[in-house]
Symmetry: C2
């Protein structure tokens, strides 16, 4: 099922996945564009729910819908755990 | 027009408005529930765009749609400026 956290998230895998996100969300989760959110230190459940919403289309954003479309539940969990693990600015 | 920042936002007014948000987003913008986002230090343009999306219905969330419905553009700008001004954890 979408959004269910089957196994413990893999922060290292999330870090590798996050390279594709850094153009907007920055190399350390502090957004480089003012209309993108800072993700560093954000709540893991919230991040996971938003990525799942972009993946399913429940939440719409041109860029994020495209980025989240191919992600698996495990990849969403890894990304959420990775960004949650980063120090907020 | 919705989302247009007519005058400089009023952080003090935003702080007063934010009392209604603290049940989920915490007294200092650090969420008290895991499925709500931390708002402290978040990008002002992003916060304003999300509140506007909840206000117009472009973004859906039961609680946030209800909270954002009555907000004016000026109140949205004040809330965004207030939360942006808070230190991220």
């Amino acid at each position: 099922m979408v959004g269910v956290q089957a196994e413990a998230a893999d922060i290292a895998a999330g870090k590798t996945l996050a390279v594709r996100c850094s153009a907007c969300h920055g190399p350390a989760g502090i957004a480089v564009t003012p209309d993108a959110p800072n993700l560093a230190g954000q709540n893991e459940a919230y991040l996971s729910a938003q990525l799942t919403a972009f993946h399913t289309g429940a939440r719409q954003n041109e860029m994020m819908s495209m980025m989240a479309k191919p992600l698996t539940d495990a990849q969403i969990a890894d990304l959420a755990a990775y960004y949650h693990s980063l120090p907020a600015k």
